[in-house]
């Protein structure tokens, strides 16, 4: 049986950066990896088919978290220690990226890494994904 960490203090309202679990790294590691994040930024920015919608939601997050308005910073926080390994990404990695980020999203919900946008409770990861679209 899976246990859920439901500590109340983990319901963050504009709190510190997300804990990084590094789920993405093993999937996205590539011999062509480089230390720069621009391809990754592009890939994350393309996560959603409906980017207009994501942008609108992401702006709300950025208004609430003005310290994260830098797209590069958002990518770093999303990728965490895996950033250096991610390297240059191409669109062929997108399915793996989507899968890994959804896993991260679920992990946030499990651990209570949640932000509130107009009362709507979102995982920190999804909120940052929306914000990446808005910040690009």
């Amino acid at each position: 049986m899976m246990e859920v960490d439901l500590r109340r203090r983990d319901f963050l309202r504009g709190a510190s950066a997300a804990a990084v679990v590094g789920l993405v790294a093993p999937i996205l590691s590539s011999p062509m990896a480089c230390s720069r994040g621009d391809p990754l930024l592009a890939a994350l920015g393309d996560f959603f088919d409906d980017r207009d919608a994501a942008r609108i939601v992401g702006r709300i997050y950025l208004n609430q978290e003005p310290g994260e308005r830098d797209a590069r910073l958002l990518v770093e926080r999303l990728a965490g220690p895996a950033l250096e390994d991610w390297g240059s990404l191409s669109r062929r990695y997108l399915p793996a990226l989507r899968s890994a980020l959804r896993a991260r999203h679920r992990e946030d919900l499990r651990t209570g890494e949640i932000v509130s946008l107009d009362g709507w409770q979102l995982s920190r990861t999804e909120a940052r994904l929306y914000a990446v679209v808005a910040a690009r």
Binding site: M1, M2, E3, V4, L6, R8, F11, R13, F47, F48, D49, D50, D52, A53, A54, I56, V57, I60, R102, H105, R106, L109, R110, G112, I114, S116, L117, D118, G119, W120, Q121, L122, S123, E126, L129, Y130
Partner: protein, 498 residues
């Protein structure tokens, strides 16, 4: 037989074997169970067959605590009691509701749920229900799936809605029973003890026209509701100045409600058909059924919170932001955004949760007598409904847990509008007109008014029926349980009379 107390000769005395004060859900259930027995039963009903203003006015009172409904609008004085105008929401209490929970002071019933199970079964027919749904999701199937991961602590609770009007549905069975007399317009105003003060000798009743009569009986049952039960015990203070059964200052304390809040929402990332178990209510035979979510007992224990039922109450159109959010969360959860890939093109909807919360027993939440008197000279009540911080925290945490678990299950996102930094309930919070706990059961007279059978501590023949017996309220509307308790009491009365 159906009788009008106004037509009794002055100063009459009635001498049944059992006198039941009140003909609401509890009183009528007792009448049904006692019908046909080898003993005489009388039911005293304050009102008539229909609601009238002058009789309702007897229930007026003050509220000195948290804002509450005008008391004369929160109960119905007529044959059938408040089932004349209830919604008919029925569900049993949970097994854990009967247990002593160390994080909830004064919790624990004097028996476990197994004691009530056979009586719940018997109560089905009286309430007009389909089944005793102990496990949630009992109406789930492929077209109505349970949503949420039960193993992680989000469970489903089945709610049946059957607004059975006891006064009309059961009228014939009660009033035509050869051993049962129902007296309408008969207001019990005083309970008088006999010599030795261990037995009730008589109840004095009057009509609004002023005519009085007396009921002398072997057994008496007070079944007048969660406010009138303590009121009559407290007002019967000519012999015991604190009131009957009040030697330990327990009568009227622990008034409990079910705080109802509409402070959470659901923006689904699944098609509306997937929510079929939860919205809208669906018909099963003669009842409507709707699923509600709840936090599991295990997780409530870990969180040290009280219970709550959370169901989708209302479907609303989304605003612009919510439409965008609906799109993004659908993608995030792996589905196609609304309006794409063959999904419905209609504007996405959002839902409002109704949360019916368990109120933790609080001795400072209480009924006392006010100085004012009603038209019959009986002191009115002062209701001081008081909540504790744990009540608010439980609602808030439950909503947060709903958000986590429905998000994890890919059902959608939950909006939580209760302020995490506060314990102030939003202005829309109100009770459910559920009056509970004011003559609570406890084996120890220092902690309760009646024993496990509903017998008033210190007395030998005065019983109480109704939701005023509940030591804790759970998150279930009280009628189904109070009917089960009344049937259990009826068994005891029959044994005593045999």
């Amino acid at each position: 037989m159906l009788l009008d107390a106004r037509s009794l000769p002055p100063d009459s005395t009635i001498t049944p074997d059992v006198c039941v004060i009140g003909a609401g859900a509890a009183g009528i259930s007792l009448g049904l169970e006692l019908a046909g027995g080898p003993f005489r039963v009388c039911l005293l009903e304050s009102g008539g067959m229909d609601i009238d203003e002058a009789t309702q006015a007897l229930s007026k009172g003050r509220s000195s605590g948290r804002r509450y409904f005008p008391l004369d609008t929160s109960r119905t004085r007529a044959f059938g009691g408040s089932t004349n105008c209830w919604h008919g929401v029925c569900l049993p209490l949970e097994a854990e509701d009967f247990e002593a929970r160390d994080w909830i002071p004064h919790s624990g019933w004097p028996f476990d749920r197994n004691e009530l199970l056979p009586h719940y079964e018997r109560a089905l027919a009286i309430c007009g229900l389909e089944r005793v749904a102990l496990e949630g999701g009992s109406w789930a199937d492929e077209s109505r799936p349970v949503l949420g991961d039960t193993s992680m602590g989000l469970e489903t609770r089945d709610i049946q809605v059957a607004p059975t009007r006891f006064g009309s549905v059961h009228r014939e069975a009660v009033t035509e029973a050869p051993n049962v007399d129902v007296y309408l317009h008969a207001n019990a105003v005083d309970i008088e003890l006999g010599r030795g003060e261990r037995r009730v000798d008589r109840v004095r009743a009057v009509t609004l026209a002023g005519a009085g009569f007396t009921v002398r009986s072997k057994l008496f049952v007070l079944a007048a509701g969660g406010i009138e039960n303590p009121r009559l015990l407290l007002a019967s203070n000519r012999q015991q100045t604190a009131g009957l059964g009040n030697q330990n200052d327990q009568v009227g304390r622990f008034f409990m409600e079910h705080p109802h809040v509409f402070s959470a929402g659901l923006l689904p990332s699944v098609p509306a058909e997937r929510l079929a178990l939860y919205y809208p209510a669906f018909r099963v035979g003669a009842v409507s059924v709707i699923g509600a979510w709840k936090v599991s007992a295990k997780l409530r224990r870990a969180e040290q919170i009280a219970d709550g039922s959370h169901w989708l109450h209302e479907r609303r159109e989304t605003d612009v932001f919510e439409q965008r959010l609906a799109t993004t969360i659908s993608e995030m959860d792996g589905g196609a955004p609304p309006g794409r890939s063959g999904t419905p093109t209609s504007r996405p909807a959002r839902y409002v949760f109704a949360s019916e919360c368990e109120q933790v027993p609080n001795p400072a939440s209480r009924i006392t007598l006010a100085n004012e008197r009603d038209a019959l000279g009986v002191q009115r009540v002062d209701l001081a409904w008081r909540l504790l911080p744990i009540d608010y925290r439980s609602a808030l945490r439950s909503h947060q847990i709903l958000a986590q678990h429905l998000g994890l299950a890919g059902v959608g996102r939950v909006q939580v509008l209760l302020d995490a930094e506060s314990t102030d309930w939003p202005p829309g919070m109100e009770g459910g007109r559920h009056h509970m706990g004011t003559t609570r059961m406890h084996v120890d007279p220092r902690h309760g008014v009646v024993d496990a059978d509903g017998l008033v501590h210190g007395l030998k023949n005065l019983y109480v029926a109704g939701s005023s017996l509940f030591p804790t309220a759970g998150a279930a509307n009280p009628t189904f349980t109070l009917v089960a308790l009344a049937l259990r009491l009826a068994d005891r009365l029959k044994r005593l009379l045999s």
